[in-house]
Symmetry: C2
Subunit: 99 residues, 2 copies
Amino acid sequence: MFRHTVMFRWSTASTPEQRSALTAALAQLPAGIPTIRRYHVGPDAGINDGNFDFAVVADFDDVDGYLVYRDHPEHQRVIVELIAPFVETRAAVQYDLGD
Amino acid sequence: MFRHTVMFRWSTASTPEQRSALTAALAQLPAGIPTIRRYHVGPDAGINDGNFDFAVVADFDDVDGYLVYRDHPEHQRVIVELIAPFVETRAAVQYDLGD
């Protein structure tokens, strides 16, 4: 399988309401993007200093499944409306799960 | 369950040999740290510009399972010997998987 991981640090423009709206919108994506096999998002648990604020880990059968997700209009809408305006820093890796 | 995600950007001091040694050392950790439930590491696939270089995603039953991993001597040895000398940037999030 193939995994997409991304983390964000929110800017000061980010509010609790924005973060809740983002989490809710992301939770809807698996229902509309059939190539998603596993999808888990959430805020950092606050255990370690220096962490980023939010993570998304999404698993697909293969690279093509990931690309469908990456470029899907509903995903792009979430990025443009609910992520991009509030991101200070973004970190991402896609990698093969080797299984 | 509870998930630990971390990504690295390697400095120019990093070599292919170092990266292979790290991947091999990380692959040994689940055998020695029984609280690890799922463990997948790998280099970025090179699909998107601006990505980090390497990701680790580790799943545990709960926060305590993660803390055993975080503080385990063998994990700490890998960090000190094979990660820290070569890291330019690190990004991490721990989060509840909600299941």
